[in-house]
Symmetry: C2
Subunit: 141 residues, 2 copies
């Protein structure tokens, strides 16, 4: 492998890392909205403000951007719902979150820290790594 190829590969990897970052917020929001809808039947700006710990302005603008991506839409009553695409993303995110959380716990990480780390990691794992985690859990249960 030439030096040039090493550099290209490296650049491509970092591109991917950056791309992942730009999706994290949307995933966090659809997950939170799905959660709120399950638990309380509504997902308002102020609920999300509480969850993410940012100003309501930041929530509103994030919601607008996510709405443009056809992941969510607003009801006439002012609550937010998921589109089918959004539902799919929320379901995938939540399954992935559960898997990572269970994996970390199985590895011996405390529940609280596993929760924190799962949230940090979950947007950065390939399907291959997720499969390996699943396999580990299967073999150790």
């Amino acid at each position: 492998m030439s030096e040039g190829e090493v550099k290209m590969k490296s650049a491509a990897r970092h591109d991917r890392v950056r791309q992942q970052h730009s999706d994290e917020l949307a995933e966090d929001y659809v997950e939170a909205i799905a959660d709120l809808l399950t638990k309380s039947g509504q997902a308002r700006v102020i609920d999300l403000q509480g969850i993410f710990g940012v100003s309501h302005v930041s929530v509103i603008r994030a919601l607008k951007r996510i709405e443009e991506r056809k992941l969510i839409h607003k009801t006439v009553e002012g609550s937010w719902r998921l589109t089918e695409t959004g539902e799919a993303m929320a379901k995938a995110s939540s399954e992935r979150h559960e898997l990572v959380l269970n994996f970390l716990q199985a590895l011996g990480v405390s529940d609280l820290q596993a929760q924190v780390d799962a949230e940090g990691m979950e947007h950065h794992l390939s399907s291959e790594t997720l499969s390996s985690m699943r396999r580990y859990l299967d073999q150790n249960q």
Copy 2:
């Protein structure tokens, strides 16, 4: 645990996630600079441009911000060096990277994918989770 406490904890978690993000770039740069210095004895803008796959302008501005944080400094010849703080960060980052990479490989992830995922994950792992990974490696070597 009251609903209010749940919300506060959740907000605090997300704050932490955001804080981690703002440090990732600095860590990536000090790691890359340390790497370049070891391999070629110099770390110039153009070398970093090749590694990260961004324009030289983005590299220059990132370097300036990182310089303000006293992690790096520029030599008269135009190469970049690490300060002691920067060295420490690079060393810690690189050890953590190795650990995560080895862990993923031990888990059965392919070398290439393990490299990619290690880069994505490494900034989001607590010392507790890193310890668990180390323990797993010790028990399975």
